[in-house]
């Protein structure tokens, strides 16, 4: 019974398997629901939480920049291909009359809300869960081990490669690379090709050094402790609340 006693924990201390499950379940509910309330509340709470994490409006904005661009195009397209009442229309040279429909605008605004809410959820998951724990959770959910191992290597080396890319890029800029389109393409190809060659060399070196440490083709994963019963109960309650809210 001691284990069932309610304990207070921060979200970051939750078992990564539970966090991943809740995040995917939450996104699934956002995709299923046709009510505005759940995505609206999620977005508001998500933005507040992310602001608390990032402590910078610029970082917060940057996180939503890519979805915002796609959404801008999507709202525009849905508004002009919708049906029902026309909000306004005008003539465009070469294109002809362009009409904006109320239903298309309403539908696209709902999709936009859903997208921003989902992005905030994934961002919170990423910020509050160390990547290696997420990978262990993926392995626990029977994601093929090969994919998990590739992700381990990618996570280990991507910032290293990014740093190498920055060094090469700076060196190229200092030698008048990226001046004009032709030169820019040539410089970028050299950069990508050099990185590719380093990838081949590095993989040989990594394999050699790992085999000297006993690597036989299978990477050990950090084992996850069993989830506390209180965490499971909390997750189930939270999922129940989400289902309730999605029906509002």
């Amino acid at each position: 019974m001691e284990a069932l006693k309610p304990t207070f924990f921060k979200i970051q201390d939750l078992d990564p398997r539970i966090k991943l499950f809740l995040c995917l379940f939450y996104i699934a509910l956002l995709l299923i629901t046709d009510q505005v309330f759940l995505p609206l509340v999620t977005l508001a709470l998500g933005l507040l939480s992310l602001y608390g994490i990032y402590k910078s409006p610029a970082k917060l904005f940057h996180r939503f920049e890519e979805p915002a661009i796609i959404l801008a195009v999507l709202i525009l397209l849905k508004s002009i291909t919708g049906s029902g009442e026309v909000i306004f229309s005008f003539d465009l040279p070469l294109v002809g009359e362009l009409s904006f429909y109320q239903k298309g605008l309403r539908d696209s605004a709902f999709i936009a809300l859903r997208v921003l809410a989902s992005v905030s959820l994934v961002s919170i998951l990423k910020e509050l869960t160390p990547f290696h724990q997420l990978l262990s959770a993926l392995a626990w959910y029977r994601v093929p081990r090969e994919i998990v191992e590739i992700l381990i290597f990618a996570d280990r080396f991507m910032f290293h490669l990014l740093e190498e890319a920055r060094v090469i890029y700076t060196a190229q800029k200092n030698r008048l690379g990226y001046v004009g389109i032709k030169k820019g393409l040539s410089s970028f190809s050299t950069l990508a090709g050099t990185l590719l060659l380093r990838v081949f060399d590095q993989s040989q070196r990594v394999a050699l050094s790992m085999s000297l440490r006993g690597y036989e083709g299978i990477m050990p994963l950090s084992s996850l402790k069993g989830a506390r019963p209180s965490e499971v109960i909390w997750a189930l309650m939270f999922a129940g609340i989400l289902i309730g809210v999605s029906l509002l």
Binding site: P67, I70, V73, L77, L185, S189, T190, S203, V206
Partner: protein
């Protein structure tokens, strides 16, 4: 009426004006309804399963998994590097799937693209977890297979490495763009007709994707040529270089 149009237009187009970068077309988190998101996941599974099977077959070669992990990291890094897109007046980034498909094979390239897309979704909010299946189909399957077969076909016809590389990159990028437009229009059309929306989405992204395809082609050609000059042994071991084509 005019004021309402102005406010609407500014609200929708604002992200486009703020954006310094136009990103490659990944479908953002939460855009696709549940049914479509699940369907694209299901469609991507056979490709991923065969890719994983192929990786498993070569697992005894100790450098193989580190190479794939580093390749996924490289695709991630390449997608972080901005290149100027002349017509659109913005920066964008190549996908990098053509080069991975040429060097690793199309099925393994699907797995590498899947891993890179997962990293992008978590670290950069490009794409998403619910749209990972759809993005894997467009970037991983359409991009890898498109690029790979064009490269093989042109090489079989006796085309030079640079020419085959160029068209492989070009076709991989445009295949990705067409597949993404297809998925997006199926997912968001609601009651609207499919083909008009599909053509509008294609047209909306032409300013970035058309020149970006050409840039990706040029970069792929540049990378292949650089590798053939610096490390012809790599291409020769992969059977990509004909005997006597480049001096050792």
């Amino acid at each position: 009426m005019f004021r309402r149009f102005e406010v609407f237009g500014l609200a929708v187009l604002a992200p486009l004006f703020w954006a310094k970068e136009a990103f490659a077309m990944h479908i953002s988190e939460g855009i696709l309804p549940m049914g479509w998101a699940v369907l694209w996941y299901l469609l991507s599974i056979p490709f991923l399963a065969y890719g994983v099977h192929f990786i498993r077959k070569r697992a005894q070669e100790l450098w193989w998994k580190p190479l794939l992990g580093l390749s996924a990291a490289l695709v991630f890094v390449i997608s972080c590097m901005p290149i100027p897109v002349p017509i659109a007046g913005t920066c964008s980034h190549p996908c990098g799937t053509a080069i991975s498909a040429i060097l690793l094979g199309p099925f393994v390239s699907v797995v590498v693209a899947f891993c890179a897309l997962l990293l992008q979704a978590l670290f950069l909010a490009h794409g998403g977890l619910s749209t990972l299946g759809a993005n894997t189909i467009s970037m991983g399957v359409a991009g890898s297979f498109g690029g790979y077969f064009v490269f093989k076909f042109l090489r079989a016809l006796g085309a030079r490495l640079s020419l085959a590389g160029f068209f492989a990159g070009l076709f991989a990028d445009w295949a990705t763009y067409t597949a993404t437009s297809f998925e997006l229009s199926l997912g968001i059309r609601g009651e609207a007709e499919f083909w008009p929306l599909f053509s509008k989405i294609m047209v909306a992204f032409i300013p970035t994707q058309l020149p970006l395809g050409i840039l990706e082609g040029a970069i792929t050609a540049g990378v292949v040529v650089l590798v053939s000059q610096k490390r012809p042994d790599i291409l020769r071991s992969l059977g990509l270089l004909r005997l006597g084509e480049v001096k050792a």
